[in-house]
Amino acid sequence: MHQRPDLIVCEECDAVYQRPLLGHCEVARCPRCQAELDRHTGGRLDRLLPLTVGAMILFVIANCFPIVSIELQGLSADTTLLGAVVALAGDGMSEVSLLVFATTLLFPAIQMLALFYLLLPTSRVTRPPGFVPLLRLMQAARPWGMIEVFMLGVLVALIKLSNMAEVIPGPALWSFGGLTVLLTVVVSFNPRYIWHLCDAATVAGHEERTS
């Protein structure tokens, strides 16, 4: 078994092509099924770390403060995301509460922390410890982070409630809005391209040393 760096295999239809040399921000597509084969990431990889840090800060704020509070005949109630999870478990819906916990807290947190760790500038030189399991964990967690769907769910719930009670948006609502935008940008980056992050670095470093 040996590596063939000159070939590229389409992820979705298994067609084989000669690996194209990509210019700045060029995208290679499979002529048969039109899936993306390869992409020159340009400066996007460098911008990913600050976006991830921003998303992490918003994530903390979004989970520390109440999302909304309602007022009904002088009585008021509010909830955080974790509060909603606990309330579901209290209603005897522990499976659903686990699902909500995993899709809105656990998997997005795994994704952001893993991305933060993997993109630290030192990982351009050598692979940090735990690089392989972390990146695979992140790829597995990717479809299950659903912050943006949760955001839409909150909005629907608010409109539903606005007919019967007074609804006051909390600080976490705005953080969730910002988090949705940042995470969409961060998650749209395919983690496949991180695998060869330090390959390129080692090759470049090697060339420098030999010349």
Binding site: V9, C13, A15, P31
Partner: protein, 245 residues
């Protein structure tokens, strides 16, 4: 050698000559995209240590099983109450559809449409689309391959959005707990609904889109993978603006 193969594949489908990785004895890693030649059946990728396989293991059987389970759960998900609202005077049990009807009658048409699409149409569309994909892949059908590949991408993209109702109910049940005055509880229907979403997502993850393109009988392997590739076997290049994508 390559001339014979070109004729054969050209006569097969009338599409561009494309060489399948399996027929060239190379395997692309499903995780990191590294290409390996002559990989033994139980090998692992040297870059990311993921197991190398030609197709996802038992893809069609797994997808079938998850799909059938999802179809079964779709029934209680739509019939059982997803939300129970208790006020001072009465108790109201809402199903998915009664929530949509409520928005529609109270004049929130846009919202009724969003909830209807996300909670009713998307799961139904996903079940139907996966059924088409599994059945046609099992028959090695050549029918509308490109469209089916695109259909799979759509299924993967929209899958998550049907979680909408689960989140709506969880926010409402967390928020509306005013003792004695109003109380919202999650109903058993939302557990069934959540399981439909998870099962269909697992089904679409276990389906291998490469099966769409597989021919019934594999072609014989040529000696050297690169030599078998005609000069026309090049990827399409396009320039993208360096933006959000």
């Amino acid at each position: 050698m390559s001339g014979i193969r070109d004729d054969a594949s050209g006569a097969q489908a009338g599409e561009a000559q494309v060489h399948d990785a399996a027929s060239l004895r190379v395997t692309g890693c499903h995780h990191c995209g590294t290409v390996w030649e002559d990989a033994p059946p139980d090998a692992r990728c040297g870059v990311c240590h993921a197991p190398l396989h030609r197709r996802k293991t038992d893809s069609l059987n797994r997808t079938w099983a998850l799909l059938i389970a999802a179809c079964i759960m779709y029934i209680p998900a739509n019939l059982m109450p997803v939300m129970i609202t208790r006020t001072l005077f009465d108790e109201q049990r809402d199903t998915i559809m009664s929530g949509v009807v409520y928005f529609w009658t109270s004049g929130e048409w846009g919202l009724a449409l969003v909830v209807f699409v996300a909670s009713f149409l998307v799961p139904l569309f996903k079940l139907a689309a996966l059924l088409i994909l599994v059945v046609s892949a099992r028959r090695h059908s050549r029918w509308q391959r490109l469209q089916r590949a695109k259909l799979y991408r759509v299924v993967e993209f929209i899958g998550r959005w049907s979680m909408l109702d689960v989140f709506v109910v969880s926010v409402l049940s967390g928020l509306v707990k005013i003792h004695g005055l109003a109380d919202v509880q999650a109903g058993i229907g939302i557990a069934a609904f959540g399981s439909v979403v998870v099962l269909t997502m697992l089904a679409s993850l276990s389906f291998d889109p490469r099966l769409i393109w597989d021919e019934a009988a594999p072609a014989p392997a040529p000696a050297d993978p690169a030599a078998a590739l005609p000069p026309s076997a090049m990827a399409q290049l396009s320039k993208k603006n360096e933006g959000m994508q």
